[in-house]
Symmetry: C2
Subunit: 305 residues, 2 copies
Amino acid sequence: MAVIYNRVALIGLGLIASSMAHALRAGGFAGEIVGYAKTAETRATALEIGLCDRVFDTAAKAVQGADLVVLAVPIGAMGALAQEIAPHLAVGATVTDVGSVKQAVIDAVAPHIPTGVHFIPGHPMAGTEYSGPRSGFATLFQNRWWLLTPLPETDAAALARFRGLLESIGAKVDTMDAPHHDLVVAVVSHTPHLIAYTMVGVADDLRRVSNSEVIQYSAAGFRDFTRIAASDPTMWRDVFLTNKDATLDILGRFTEELFALQRAIRLGDGDHLHAYFTRTRAIRRGIIEAGQDTAAPDFGRTPKT
Amino acid sequence: MAVIYNRVALIGLGLIASSMAHALRAGGFAGEIVGYAKTAETRATALEIGLCDRVFDTAAKAVQGADLVVLAVPIGAMGALAQEIAPHLAVGATVTDVGSVKQAVIDAVAPHIPTGVHFIPGHPMAGTEYSGPRSGFATLFQNRWWLLTPLPETDAAALARFRGLLESIGAKVDTMDAPHHDLVVAVVSHTPHLIAYTMVGVADDLRRVSNSEVIQYSAAGFRDFTRIAASDPTMWRDVFLTNKDATLDILGRFTEELFALQRAIRLGDGDHLHAYFTRTRAIRRGIIEAGQDTAAPDFGRTPKT
């Protein structure tokens, strides 16, 4: 347990920032945690539940004197935020963000970062469908990836220090360039989310199946979709608007493939279906072996009694 | 703890039947459990791990003297199975099945059921992505729906007795007609599964994103899809072939809706996206309130340490 940053400023106090606060505090990795949130209610909550030692009513005030500044606001708000805080950043400070899209954040934030301040774009690949200051928990990042997309000019020592913090709170860290990051997440996260949102919306729309039936009989499959589709609407709107090209690219591949399966169903081509379903099964085994999910037969859910 | 059926014959010993065996044994609801499986290996396993008191190498032998016969084979195999066992069924016995599609099973099985035998088609809405005799566990049906689609001529006393058994092993039971059942499950289960299979297949196909990246970085979203897409290929092939019309119907609605969202992304229509994502969030709340999933912030997953 050693302090890695003397003062951490969390800008935005949602799921990710509040989980960071819990994890930093649990490990004693921050000398002080300060915060900013847009609403007075969230700021009051942050003090009440002990997320922050101090809260401020502007981001500009919150970042003063901080050696780590975490931008944890929707992607669409990053540019204006960076512009606002830029004059108040301490020389030598590290600024990071937690946005799910990296090129758009770099384009919006990097031009505002003053000389002598280190900008390290980041993406914690962890989350739940909950949001707000009460949704965080200290173990959210345990064994999860935190991808960093440093710029060519990023200072190696600043990067190593930040990476050390992330590993201290349990994350696995990898680095890659921003465009590749954005394509990878379009595949493993953004497009699946859009599809889940769509399916849940369709179910909600159907008049022949009542909403209570959809809710009551939702089993594995749809139930998992609704969990995904309950994620923060603002965050996801910004994800799709800012990772547009990669998402549309993967969506195109998805519909092509879906139409092929649809055709197999229509034609009664059982061999095509069976071969496809057998192939996808192997990927699942790989994910369990990589430790990204539990293999418990009940999915780790506690049976209801 | 009271015996409800003197001899239960489980025909097919996969996830559902083996879970039934565990649940029946745990509650003492069956005087004797006998079984049939196609392969000698599965039959040996069933004896070794105590699923069945006796196993038989033909379904015809297994059903003799049983007062409850459970057909737990892929839907495509139900018709031939019913034909084989029909002459060996005891008068007064109840025959049920556990297929995910009901009209196709009724069409295949009902014509073979002799007078004096009660056929009660059923669908336990519970499962994991595992299959085989070792995949079962006694609590699989706890608090899960078991839908029955009795025929107009189904005997009320036989139905009440079977319903009592299902409730004894923890299931919630509802009845509806077969065509409506098939539409409901097309919405809450079959179409979501097809979509998950598709997305996982697309990810596997992409050359610009390596398979190891897909596996390593799979987060909520894709990770849940892979769990769905790891389900038994034969079972799901038969589901889509036998619930073709309802699945194609819902798929049509799905692609229509997906194209509208895709267009909103292309045009940068954030309001459309935000409104859609806000609406789907409400459904999730309904599911948690209905007790179909856990609201634990970590989804009930045990954090890895």
